[in-house]
Protein backbone atom coordinates (compact mmCIF):
# COMPACT_ATOMS: atom_id res chain seq x y z
CA UNK A 1 0.00 0.00 0.00
CA UNK A 2 2.29 2.81 -1.17
CA UNK A 3 -0.51 4.74 -2.86
CA UNK A 4 0.11 8.11 -1.12
CA UNK A 5 3.66 8.25 -2.48
CA UNK A 6 2.37 7.55 -6.04
CA UNK A 7 0.08 10.57 -6.21
CA UNK A 8 2.82 13.26 -6.39
CA UNK A 9 4.62 11.19 -9.00
CA UNK A 10 1.59 11.30 -11.33
CA UNK A 11 1.06 15.04 -10.82
CA UNK A 12 4.52 16.00 -12.03
CA UNK A 13 3.95 15.19 -15.73
CA UNK A 14 0.63 17.05 -15.58
CA UNK A 15 2.37 20.12 -14.21
CA UNK A 16 5.02 19.81 -16.92
CA UNK A 17 2.28 19.67 -19.55
CA UNK A 18 0.76 22.85 -18.20
CA UNK A 19 4.18 24.49 -18.22
CA UNK A 20 4.83 23.42 -21.80
CA UNK A 21 1.37 24.58 -22.74
CA UNK A 22 1.99 28.01 -21.20
CA UNK A 23 5.32 28.29 -23.00
CA UNK A 24 3.92 27.06 -26.32
CA UNK A 25 0.83 29.25 -26.35
CA UNK A 26 2.63 32.54 -27.10
CA UNK A 27 4.71 30.73 -29.70
CA UNK A 28 1.60 29.38 -31.39
CA UNK A 29 0.03 32.83 -31.31
CA UNK A 30 3.18 34.26 -32.90
CA UNK A 31 3.15 31.58 -35.61
CA UNK A 32 -0.55 32.21 -36.29
CA UNK A 33 0.14 35.94 -36.51
CA UNK A 34 3.08 35.35 -38.86
CA UNK A 35 0.90 33.17 -41.11
CA UNK A 36 -1.85 35.77 -41.02
CA UNK A 37 0.56 38.57 -41.93
CA UNK A 38 2.16 36.48 -44.70
CA UNK A 39 -1.31 35.69 -46.05
CA UNK A 40 -2.01 39.41 -46.32
CA UNK A 41 0.52 39.58 -49.16
CA UNK A 42 -0.60 36.48 -51.02
CA UNK A 43 -3.46 36.25 -53.50
CA UNK A 44 -6.21 33.64 -53.29
CA UNK A 45 -5.43 30.37 -55.14
CA UNK A 46 -7.75 31.10 -58.09
CA UNK A 47 -6.25 34.57 -58.55
CA UNK A 48 -2.75 33.09 -58.41
CA UNK A 49 -3.70 30.60 -61.13
CA UNK A 50 -5.09 33.41 -63.26
CA UNK A 51 -2.04 35.59 -62.70
CA UNK A 52 0.44 32.82 -63.49
CA UNK A 53 -1.34 31.86 -66.70
CA UNK A 54 -1.71 35.45 -67.88
CA UNK A 55 1.94 36.18 -67.23
CA UNK A 56 3.03 33.03 -69.01
CA UNK A 57 0.79 33.53 -72.03
CA UNK A 58 1.73 37.20 -72.40
CA UNK A 59 5.35 36.24 -73.00
CA UNK A 60 6.41 39.39 -71.20
CA UNK A 61 8.18 40.15 -67.97
CA UNK A 62 6.06 41.49 -65.13
CA UNK A 63 6.76 43.32 -61.92
CA UNK A 64 4.64 43.08 -58.83
CA UNK A 65 3.41 46.50 -57.79
CA UNK A 66 1.22 45.54 -54.88
CA UNK A 67 -0.54 42.51 -53.45
CA UNK A 68 -2.96 42.80 -50.56
CA UNK A 69 -5.27 40.16 -49.22
CA UNK A 70 -7.72 40.26 -46.36
CA UNK A 71 -8.42 36.66 -45.44
CA UNK A 72 -11.41 35.44 -43.45
CA UNK A 73 -9.57 35.86 -40.15
CA UNK A 74 -8.48 39.41 -40.94
CA UNK A 75 -11.94 40.32 -42.14
CA UNK A 76 -13.41 38.74 -39.01
CA UNK A 77 -11.14 40.85 -36.80
CA UNK A 78 -12.06 43.99 -38.76
CA UNK A 79 -15.75 43.10 -38.54
CA UNK A 80 -15.50 42.51 -34.79
CA UNK A 81 -13.72 45.84 -34.37
CA UNK A 82 -16.30 47.67 -36.44
CA UNK A 83 -19.19 46.12 -34.55
CA UNK A 84 -18.51 48.62 -31.77
CA UNK A 85 -18.47 51.56 -34.17
CA UNK A 86 -21.53 53.41 -35.46
CA UNK A 87 -21.70 52.87 -39.21
CA UNK A 88 -24.18 53.63 -42.00
CA UNK A 89 -26.36 50.61 -42.77
CA UNK A 90 -24.84 50.46 -46.28
CA UNK A 91 -21.29 50.36 -44.91
CA UNK A 92 -22.21 47.77 -42.31
CA UNK A 93 -23.91 45.58 -44.91
CA UNK A 94 -20.84 45.86 -47.13
CA UNK A 95 -18.55 44.85 -44.26
CA UNK A 96 -20.81 41.94 -43.39
CA UNK A 97 -20.93 40.79 -47.01
CA UNK A 98 -17.20 40.45 -47.54
CA UNK A 99 -15.81 37.09 -46.53
CA UNK A 100 -12.36 37.73 -47.86
CA UNK A 101 -10.93 39.85 -50.62
CA UNK A 102 -7.62 40.34 -52.32
CA UNK A 103 -6.11 42.56 -54.97
CA UNK A 104 -2.91 42.26 -56.95
CA UNK A 105 -1.44 44.87 -59.27
CA UNK A 106 1.29 43.92 -61.72
CA UNK A 107 3.08 46.06 -64.27
CA UNK A 108 4.81 45.15 -67.50
CA UNK A 109 8.53 45.42 -66.91
CA UNK A 110 9.41 46.79 -70.35
CA UNK A 111 7.83 49.04 -72.99
CA UNK A 112 7.77 46.42 -75.73
CA UNK A 113 4.80 45.64 -77.97
CA UNK A 114 1.64 44.91 -75.97
CA UNK A 115 0.86 41.25 -75.35
CA UNK A 116 -1.83 39.58 -77.42
CA UNK A 117 -4.94 39.93 -75.25
CA UNK A 118 -6.89 37.29 -77.14
CA UNK A 119 -4.14 34.77 -76.41
CA UNK A 120 -4.04 35.85 -72.77
CA UNK A 121 -7.79 35.48 -72.46
CA UNK A 122 -7.84 32.04 -74.05
CA UNK A 123 -5.02 30.85 -71.78
CA UNK A 124 -6.74 32.26 -68.72
CA UNK A 125 -10.00 30.54 -69.71
CA UNK A 126 -8.28 27.16 -69.95
CA UNK A 127 -6.45 27.52 -66.65
CA UNK A 128 -9.53 28.66 -64.78
CA UNK A 129 -11.69 25.95 -66.38
CA UNK A 130 -9.25 23.38 -65.02
CA UNK A 131 -9.98 24.77 -61.54
CA UNK A 132 -13.75 24.63 -62.08
CA UNK A 133 -14.18 28.31 -62.89
CA UNK A 134 -15.75 29.77 -66.01
CA UNK A 135 -15.70 33.16 -67.60
CA UNK A 136 -18.98 35.04 -67.28
CA UNK A 137 -17.78 38.21 -68.99
CA UNK A 138 -14.93 38.93 -71.37
CA UNK A 139 -14.31 42.27 -73.01
CA UNK A 140 -11.49 43.32 -75.30
CA UNK A 141 -11.79 46.93 -76.28
CA UNK A 142 -9.05 49.21 -77.46
CA UNK A 143 -6.11 48.33 -75.26
CA UNK A 144 -8.19 46.99 -72.42
CA UNK A 145 -9.01 43.47 -71.41
CA UNK A 146 -11.59 42.72 -68.76
CA UNK A 147 -12.72 39.29 -67.62
CA UNK A 148 -14.93 38.09 -64.79
CA UNK A 149 -14.73 34.49 -63.63
CA UNK A 150 -17.18 32.63 -61.44
CA UNK A 151 -17.21 29.08 -60.12
CA UNK A 152 -19.13 26.67 -62.33
CA UNK A 153 -21.04 25.30 -59.34
CA UNK A 154 -22.13 26.26 -55.86
CA UNK A 155 -23.11 29.85 -56.48
CA UNK A 156 -25.65 31.28 -54.11
CA UNK A 157 -26.29 34.59 -52.42
CA UNK A 158 -24.72 33.20 -49.26
CA UNK A 159 -21.66 31.86 -50.98
CA UNK A 160 -20.48 33.92 -53.89
CA UNK A 161 -16.94 33.90 -55.21
CA UNK A 162 -15.57 35.84 -58.13
CA UNK A 163 -12.30 36.72 -59.74
CA UNK A 164 -11.89 39.81 -61.89
CA UNK A 165 -9.10 40.69 -64.29
CA UNK A 166 -8.44 44.12 -65.75
CA UNK A 167 -5.50 44.71 -68.08
CA UNK A 168 -4.90 48.09 -69.69
CA UNK A 169 -1.80 47.41 -71.81
CA UNK A 170 0.64 48.28 -69.03
CA UNK A 171 -0.98 47.23 -65.80
CA UNK A 172 -2.82 44.14 -64.77
CA UNK A 173 -5.16 44.20 -61.80
CA UNK A 174 -6.52 41.01 -60.30
CA UNK A 175 -9.26 41.03 -57.71
CA UNK A 176 -10.66 38.02 -55.95
CA UNK A 177 -13.48 38.09 -53.44
CA UNK A 178 -15.65 35.70 -51.54
CA UNK A 179 -18.63 36.68 -49.54
CA UNK A 180 -22.20 36.49 -48.49
CA UNK A 181 -24.43 38.82 -50.48
CA UNK A 182 -27.44 38.40 -48.23
CA UNK A 183 -26.84 41.48 -46.02
CA UNK A 184 -26.41 43.63 -49.15
CA UNK A 185 -29.46 42.09 -50.80
CA UNK A 186 -31.60 42.73 -47.74
CA UNK A 187 -30.46 46.33 -47.72
CA UNK A 188 -31.08 46.72 -51.46
CA UNK A 189 -34.57 45.24 -51.18
CA UNK A 190 -35.36 47.61 -48.32
CA UNK A 191 -34.60 50.64 -50.52
CA UNK A 192 -37.83 52.42 -51.56
CA UNK A 193 -37.01 52.83 -55.26
CA UNK A 194 -35.36 49.49 -55.80
CA UNK A 195 -38.35 47.55 -56.99
CA UNK A 196 -39.94 50.33 -59.04
CA UNK A 197 -38.24 49.22 -62.24
CA UNK A 198 -38.98 45.59 -61.58
CA UNK A 199 -42.69 46.24 -61.14
CA UNK A 200 -42.91 47.38 -64.77
CA UNK A 201 -41.09 44.28 -65.89
CA UNK A 202 -43.35 42.02 -63.86
CA UNK A 203 -46.49 43.57 -65.38
CA UNK A 204 -45.34 42.61 -68.83
Amino acid sequence: MNLPSDIPATRRPARRLWLWGLLAAPLLVLIALAVMVADCFRLAPEARTLRDELMLSSGAEWQRAIVLNANALTVGVIRAGLSCVRLDPEARAAVQSVGNAGVGVYKLASDGPPPDRAVMLAAADSAMAARGWERAVGVIDGHDLVAVYLPEKDISARRLKCCVLVFDRKEMVLVSARGNLEPLLKLALAQPGFSAQLQNLAKR
Partner: protein
Protein backbone atom coordinates in the same frame (compact mmCIF):
# COMPACT_ATOMS: atom_id res chain seq x y z
CA UNK B 1 -21.55 -11.89 -51.46
CA UNK B 2 -23.67 -8.81 -50.79
CA UNK B 3 -20.61 -6.61 -51.25
CA UNK B 4 -19.79 -8.36 -54.49
CA UNK B 5 -23.24 -7.52 -55.79
CA UNK B 6 -23.40 -4.02 -54.31
CA UNK B 7 -20.22 -2.62 -55.88
CA UNK B 8 -20.89 -3.65 -59.49
CA UNK B 9 -24.46 -2.38 -59.03
CA UNK B 10 -23.21 0.98 -57.77
CA UNK B 11 -20.72 1.22 -60.64
CA UNK B 12 -23.45 0.33 -63.14
CA UNK B 13 -25.74 3.03 -61.72
CA UNK B 14 -22.93 5.58 -61.85
CA UNK B 15 -22.03 4.60 -65.40
CA UNK B 16 -25.68 4.83 -66.43
CA UNK B 17 -25.87 8.29 -64.86
CA UNK B 18 -22.77 9.42 -66.72
CA UNK B 19 -23.99 8.02 -70.03
CA UNK B 20 -27.40 9.67 -69.57
CA UNK B 21 -25.62 12.97 -68.96
CA UNK B 22 -23.51 12.48 -72.07
CA UNK B 23 -26.55 11.54 -74.13
CA UNK B 24 -28.54 14.49 -72.75
CA UNK B 25 -26.17 16.97 -74.37
CA UNK B 26 -26.93 20.68 -74.52
CA UNK B 27 -30.55 21.84 -74.22
CA UNK B 28 -32.45 22.13 -77.54
CA UNK B 29 -32.45 25.91 -77.47
CA UNK B 30 -28.68 26.18 -77.15
CA UNK B 31 -26.63 27.05 -80.22
CA UNK B 32 -22.91 26.66 -80.53
CA UNK B 33 -21.62 29.68 -82.42
CA UNK B 34 -18.18 28.10 -82.44
CA UNK B 35 -14.95 29.68 -81.34
CA UNK B 36 -15.18 33.42 -81.77
CA UNK B 37 -11.96 35.33 -81.54
CA UNK B 38 -11.35 39.07 -81.77
CA UNK B 39 -9.57 40.59 -84.73
CA UNK B 40 -6.36 42.50 -84.11
CA UNK B 41 -7.32 45.72 -82.33
CA UNK B 42 -10.96 44.80 -82.82
CA UNK B 43 -13.70 45.06 -80.25
CA UNK B 44 -14.76 41.85 -78.57
CA UNK B 45 -17.43 41.35 -75.94
CA UNK B 46 -18.56 38.01 -74.62
CA UNK B 47 -21.12 37.62 -71.88
CA UNK B 48 -22.22 34.21 -70.75
CA UNK B 49 -24.66 33.96 -67.87
CA UNK B 50 -25.61 30.48 -66.83
CA UNK B 51 -28.48 29.19 -64.77
CA UNK B 52 -26.57 29.40 -61.48
CA UNK B 53 -26.14 33.17 -61.80
CA UNK B 54 -29.63 33.59 -63.21
CA UNK B 55 -31.11 31.78 -60.24
CA UNK B 56 -29.10 34.07 -58.00
CA UNK B 57 -30.64 37.06 -59.77
CA UNK B 58 -34.05 35.41 -59.38
CA UNK B 59 -33.44 35.00 -55.65
CA UNK B 60 -32.75 38.72 -55.49
CA UNK B 61 -36.19 39.64 -56.74
CA UNK B 62 -38.24 36.65 -55.70
CA UNK B 63 -40.00 38.09 -52.67
CA UNK B 64 -40.98 41.43 -54.15
CA UNK B 65 -41.22 40.57 -57.84
CA UNK B 66 -42.25 36.94 -58.30
CA UNK B 67 -43.10 37.48 -61.99
CA UNK B 68 -39.66 38.85 -62.78
CA UNK B 69 -38.11 36.01 -60.80
CA UNK B 70 -40.17 33.53 -62.81
CA UNK B 71 -38.91 35.04 -66.05
CA UNK B 72 -35.33 34.72 -64.85
CA UNK B 73 -35.92 31.13 -63.78
CA UNK B 74 -37.30 30.34 -67.23
CA UNK B 75 -33.94 31.15 -68.72
CA UNK B 76 -31.12 28.63 -68.60
CA UNK B 77 -28.41 30.50 -70.44
CA UNK B 78 -27.72 33.89 -71.96
CA UNK B 79 -24.84 34.28 -74.33
CA UNK B 80 -24.00 37.52 -76.06
CA UNK B 81 -21.11 37.98 -78.46
CA UNK B 82 -20.09 41.24 -80.05
CA UNK B 83 -17.23 41.05 -82.52
CA UNK B 84 -15.87 44.25 -83.96
CA UNK B 85 -15.31 44.17 -87.69
CA UNK B 86 -12.07 45.20 -89.31
CA UNK B 87 -10.82 44.75 -92.86
CA UNK B 88 -9.13 41.57 -91.69
CA UNK B 89 -12.22 39.75 -90.42
CA UNK B 90 -15.22 41.47 -92.03
CA UNK B 91 -15.78 39.06 -94.90
CA UNK B 92 -15.20 35.98 -92.73
CA UNK B 93 -17.51 37.10 -89.96
CA UNK B 94 -20.35 38.09 -92.27
CA UNK B 95 -20.02 34.74 -94.04
CA UNK B 96 -20.00 32.96 -90.70
CA UNK B 97 -23.14 34.65 -89.43
CA UNK B 98 -24.93 33.78 -92.66
CA UNK B 99 -23.82 30.19 -92.21
CA UNK B 100 -25.15 30.22 -88.62
CA UNK B 101 -28.51 31.44 -89.93
CA UNK B 102 -28.55 28.75 -92.57
CA UNK B 103 -27.74 26.08 -89.97
CA UNK B 104 -30.50 27.36 -87.69
CA UNK B 105 -33.08 27.07 -90.44
CA UNK B 106 -31.83 23.59 -91.28
CA UNK B 107 -32.12 22.60 -87.60
CA UNK B 108 -35.79 23.53 -87.43
CA UNK B 109 -35.54 27.02 -85.98
CA UNK B 110 -38.28 29.43 -87.02
CA UNK B 111 -37.21 32.71 -88.53
CA UNK B 112 -39.49 35.21 -86.82
CA UNK B 113 -38.09 38.48 -88.03
CA UNK B 114 -35.65 39.48 -90.72
CA UNK B 115 -34.76 43.10 -91.19
CA UNK B 116 -32.45 44.19 -93.96
CA UNK B 117 -31.66 47.86 -93.92
CA UNK B 118 -30.60 49.90 -96.92
CA UNK B 119 -27.29 50.70 -95.27
CA UNK B 120 -26.46 47.02 -95.14
CA UNK B 121 -27.58 46.28 -91.59
CA UNK B 122 -29.11 42.86 -91.28
CA UNK B 123 -31.03 41.50 -88.27
CA UNK B 124 -32.40 37.99 -87.90
CA UNK B 125 -34.47 36.62 -85.03
CA UNK B 126 -34.97 32.91 -84.68
CA UNK B 127 -36.94 30.90 -82.14
CA UNK B 128 -37.25 27.22 -81.42
CA UNK B 129 -40.37 25.82 -79.82
CA UNK B 130 -40.59 23.00 -77.34
CA UNK B 131 -43.77 20.96 -77.24
CA UNK B 132 -45.67 23.37 -79.46
CA UNK B 133 -46.17 26.22 -76.99
CA UNK B 134 -43.13 27.01 -74.87
CA UNK B 135 -39.99 28.36 -76.46
CA UNK B 136 -36.79 26.38 -76.12
CA UNK B 137 -34.54 29.17 -77.24
CA UNK B 138 -34.01 32.41 -79.06
CA UNK B 139 -31.22 33.48 -81.37
CA UNK B 140 -30.62 37.02 -82.57
CA UNK B 141 -28.04 37.76 -85.22
CA UNK B 142 -27.06 41.26 -86.19
CA UNK B 143 -24.70 42.17 -89.00
CA UNK B 144 -23.65 45.77 -89.09
CA UNK B 145 -21.07 45.52 -91.89
CA UNK B 146 -19.35 48.75 -90.92
CA UNK B 147 -18.95 48.13 -87.21
CA UNK B 148 -19.78 44.80 -85.70
CA UNK B 149 -21.51 41.48 -85.63
CA UNK B 150 -23.73 40.58 -82.68
CA UNK B 151 -24.84 37.07 -81.80
CA UNK B 152 -27.27 36.39 -78.99
CA UNK B 153 -28.51 33.04 -77.77
CA UNK B 154 -31.01 32.85 -74.94
CA UNK B 155 -31.92 29.34 -73.85
CA UNK B 156 -35.29 29.00 -72.19
CA UNK B 157 -38.89 30.02 -72.51
CA UNK B 158 -38.63 33.68 -73.38
CA UNK B 159 -40.32 35.77 -76.06
CA UNK B 160 -38.27 38.21 -78.18
CA UNK B 161 -40.06 41.21 -76.66
CA UNK B 162 -38.97 40.07 -73.18
CA UNK B 163 -35.29 40.42 -74.09
CA UNK B 164 -35.36 44.03 -72.94
CA UNK B 165 -36.49 42.91 -69.49
CA UNK B 166 -33.59 40.53 -69.17
CA UNK B 167 -31.15 43.10 -70.52
CA UNK B 168 -32.31 45.70 -68.02
CA UNK B 169 -32.44 43.26 -65.17
CA UNK B 170 -29.00 41.83 -65.78
CA UNK B 171 -27.51 45.08 -67.08
CA UNK B 172 -26.06 43.61 -70.26
CA UNK B 173 -25.31 46.64 -72.42
CA UNK B 174 -25.16 45.03 -75.90
CA UNK B 175 -28.41 43.23 -75.17
CA UNK B 176 -30.08 46.46 -74.06
CA UNK B 177 -29.72 47.94 -77.55
CA UNK B 178 -31.21 44.85 -79.14
CA UNK B 179 -33.90 44.59 -76.47
CA UNK B 180 -34.99 48.16 -77.09
CA UNK B 181 -35.27 47.49 -80.80
CA UNK B 182 -37.26 44.31 -80.21
CA UNK B 183 -39.75 45.79 -77.76
CA UNK B 184 -42.19 46.68 -80.49
CA UNK B 185 -41.67 43.57 -82.56
CA UNK B 186 -44.41 41.01 -82.13
CA UNK B 187 -42.90 37.53 -82.14
CA UNK B 188 -45.34 36.04 -84.57
CA UNK B 189 -45.14 38.84 -87.10
CA UNK B 190 -42.71 37.37 -89.54
CA UNK B 191 -41.90 40.71 -91.03
CA UNK B 192 -39.46 41.31 -93.80
CA UNK B 193 -38.37 44.78 -94.72
CA UNK B 194 -36.21 45.14 -97.77
Amino acid sequence: MKIMIRYPLAIAILAAGVSINVLAGPPPGQVDFGKLAPADNGEFVEVQIKSNLLSLAAQLVEKQEPAAAKLLRNVELIRVNVIGLTDANRADMVKRVRQIRHDLESDGWDRNVTVQEKKGGDVGIYTKTRGGEALAGLVITVIDPKDQVVLVNIVGDIQPEQVAILADKLNIEPLKDIGAALKDVAPKDAASKN
